[in-house]
């Protein structure tokens, strides 16, 4: 049946969003990069729950492929529905900019979350963690496991994914400056495919036996590289870290094939997104360090319009059990 149409039931009987802000509750729509991956589904859960607290109507619809064109269709249908606030996690920031302009022209408050569209008309960007924060934490975690030195490689995903590439940049600089005895040997792109990530990680280990570290740059390659280390029976010899969701990383954190997973409280990110939505709908200013129910340490930068969730969250064998997504 109609699986996760979360906001769906709500809208279909509210009948025709043409009224726009007509209904007493503000409607907040969120378009993820891609449906069906735990990361965004968790954001959806968080946003939904927050909306029940804050009294807003949460809509969520994602494309089946991480494809800018497919995403544009959904944004268009939300513009047509005349939602009050529209959040997008753009697959391709540049291509989203003009669409956001259209939405703004249609009187919709537009914002980005998870991934920014810098030169667009978005009012707010809900940022999970600063680029530096993620890049540096990844590096620190890996270095801690590798003992501050050694050669490591990065298994990234989509060649064109902007945020991944920016994190990799930080890792390069930070490693060079902070860990002179460590070096990044190679960066490979496995797409969104776990098995490819695993195979590439294996090949990297084989081509360079002195390799002692691997980074899985996205939620599909993080467990992938850990799996490769486990298969190669190199647990302990080769350390891995990555950006993996709790459930997918748990088994690897437990058997040590993954040292740590660097992420953030994704459900909290969803909640923060919802909250920001209500603020935008009500047209209220966001304070420098706002009071967000249930979320600590949120900061807001006025002139860049970036609402920061906080420091990255480091998942280890000890705390991974606390999250379920």
């Amino acid at each position: 049946g109609c699986g996760e149409g979360s906001g769906g039931s709500a809208t279909s009987d509210s009948g025709g969003g043409d009224s726009g802000g007509g209904s007493d509750q503000p409607t907040i729509a969120f378009v993820p990069k891609l449906q069906g991956i735990p990361y965004f589904e968790a954001m959806n859960t968080g946003g939904q729950e927050a909306c029940e607290e804050l009294g807003c109507e949460w809509l969520y619809q994602g494309p089946v492929e991480a494809d800018a064109a497919a995403q544009a269709d959904i944004v268009r249908s939300y513009i047509q529905q005349g939602v009050d606030v529209l959040f997008v996690a753009p697959n391709d920031p540049d291509s989203m900019a003009p669409l956001l302009q259209q939405a703004a022209d249609a009187g919709i408050a537009v914002a980005t979350t998870d991934t920014d569209a810098p030169d667009s008309v978005r009012e707010v960007f809900v940022n999970q963690a600063s680029t530096e924060g993620i890049g540096q934490t990844l590096t620190d975690q890996l270095m801690e496991a590798m003992g501050g030195s050694g050669r490591y490689a990065i298994v990234s995903c989509g060649e064109t994914a902007e945020n991944l590439n920016s994190w990799i940049e930080v890792q390069r600089e930070y490693t060079a400056s902070q860990y002179p005895d460590a070096e990044i040997t190679d960066v490979v792109y496995a797409g969104e495919d776990q098995t490819v990530a695993t195979q590439m990680a294996t090949d990297l280990m084989n081509s360079d036996p002195s390799l002692t570290g691997l980074v899985g740059e996205c939620t599909s390659s993080a467990p992938g590289v850990a799996q490769a280390v486990r298969d190669a029976g190199k647990i302990g010899q080769v350390q891995t870290v990555g950006l993996g969701t709790p459930n997918s990383m748990a088994p690897y954190l437990e058997d040590g094939s993954a040292a740590a997973s660097v992420l953030w409280d994704v459900e909290a990110l969803g909640g923060l997104t919802a909250w920001a939505g209500t603020q935008l709908a009500a047209g209220e200013e966001i304070a420098a360090s706002p009071e967000v129910p249930g979320i600590e340490g949120v900061t807001y930068d006025e002139e860049s319009g970036v609402l920061l969730l906080g420091d990255p969250l480091v998942l280890t064998a000890d705390n991974v059990g606390e999250y379920d997504y």
Binding site: E4, Y60, P63, E65, R76, S77, S95
Partner: protein, 370 residues
């Protein structure tokens, strides 16, 4: 049952009997039914109308999450542009026969998009020369397919599969997998943005400019080529029976070669359009997700283009595109949440299989061209 690259042993059209050959004339209703079932164009029109009526009624009774109105339909046309253009590209090559097909159009879009990005975004060329360059470069990629298929007699499916791999790889390597989003390119979006139709602003809703700058010209040109020029005739001839065409004195190779060049040129045009629509030249523009090739082929086939060659019309491609685009747009409003985008897959698959089976059955029952 037979292959994509050999002429059919006895294709449906073979069986056609002239209606006049019938001993007793059939009644008007029977006649209409036969036309509806055997003529793909007619079937598509009916389906399209059905979709529009159903959706508007649903919308009227507030079953949809937003009005399914003309302005929305107009806005969604922005997707129709690349689909139609690439559908026409497939029309050219599939009609040329001998298993003609082009899996590489999406990859050509990616690669050409990057080339255009360089010219317009980085080398500071002005729009028109850059556009010409893009179309020419696309044609060049098509020419590579054409030489292999038409002159060296490589099977089209494999050739274009190979060039698909090659072009998409080059598109990524050429700029170190970075998209090009220089200022001029971001402003280029204006050529795709929705505009009021001049002269009759209120009557007609705002239609994406791309429909006028890209789609309409391309459709008209290809229609003229296929239906009104001697080249079109040669294309249908070689698609129907290229041995006979050879004996007739038609330059089979050149005709087929040009079909692939044309497909490449259209892909080049799509590349420019995609760059404009996305305000950036992305190295994976044409191959992201399922890529652009499979949808284009699907559209062509749905539009009644016979995979065995020699049959196919521009109108079919256009109608098939409108059907799919407007059906998908409706589904997004009718089915909220992730299920919405999932049902789009169902709709596409179902319509394709349904139409193919129906016409297949009808052609055996009545004997008529698809």
């Amino acid at each position: 049952m037979t292959t994509s690259t050999t002429p059919p042993p006895a294709p449906a059209p073979e069986k056609q009997q002239p209606g006049a050959a019938t001993d007793r004339p059939e009644g008007l209703p029977a006649r209409l039914l036969r036309i509806l079932l055997t003529q793909r164009i007619a079937l598509l029109v009916v389906l399209l109308v059905a979709v529009l009526i159903t959706m508007t009624t649903l919308s009227g009774n507030n079953y949809l999450s937003a009005p399914y109105d003309s302005s929305y339909l107009a806005a969604t046309l922005i997707n129709a542009v690349p689909l139609v253009l690439l559908g026409l590209a497939e029309l050219l090559v599939i009609t040329s026969g001998r298993g003609g097909i082009d899996l590489s159009v999406g990859a050509i879009v990616s690669l050409t998009g990057m080339v255009f990005g360089f010219a317009y975004g980085e080398w500071g060329w002005s729009l028109f020369p850059s556009l010409v360059l893009a179309v020419a470069f696309g044609a060049l990629c098509g020419a590579l397919n054409g030489v292999l298929v038409a002159y060296l007699r490589f099977p089209a499916l494999i050739t274009t599969l190979a060039t698909y791999y090659a072009f998409s790889s080059l598109a990524l390597v050429i700029n170190d997998q970075q998209p090009i989003n220089a200022r001029p390119i971001q402003e280029l979006y204006s050529t795709a943005r929705a505009v009021e139709v001049p002269f009759l602003p209120d009557a007609v809703p705002a239609v994406p400019l791309g429909v006028f700058t890209y789609l309409v010209p391309a459709v008209v040109v290809i229609w003229l080529v296929m239906a009104r020029t001697t080249y079109g005739r040669r294309l249908y001839a070689i698609g129907t029976n290229d041995v006979a065409a050879e004996w007739t004195g038609i330059d089979v190779r050149r005709t087929r070669f040009l079909a692939y060049v044309g497909a490449g040129a259209l892909s080049g045009l799509v590349a420019v359009y995609t760059v404009a629509q996305f305000a950036s030249a992305r190295p994976d523009a044409g191959v992201a997700g399922n890529g652009m090739a499979l949808p284009a082929i699907t559209i062509a086939v749905l539009g009644g283009v016979a995979i065995t060659g020699g049959i196919g019309r521009v109108a079919g491609v256009v109608l098939a595109t409108l059907l799919i685009v407007w059906l998908n747009a409706g589904i997004l409003l009718a089915v909220p949440g992730n299920a919405g985008t999932q049902f789009q897959l169902f709709a596409l698959g179902f319509v394709l299989v349904f139409a193919a089976l129906l016409n297949g059955f009808a052609n055996r029952r009545y004997g008529g061209t698809s």
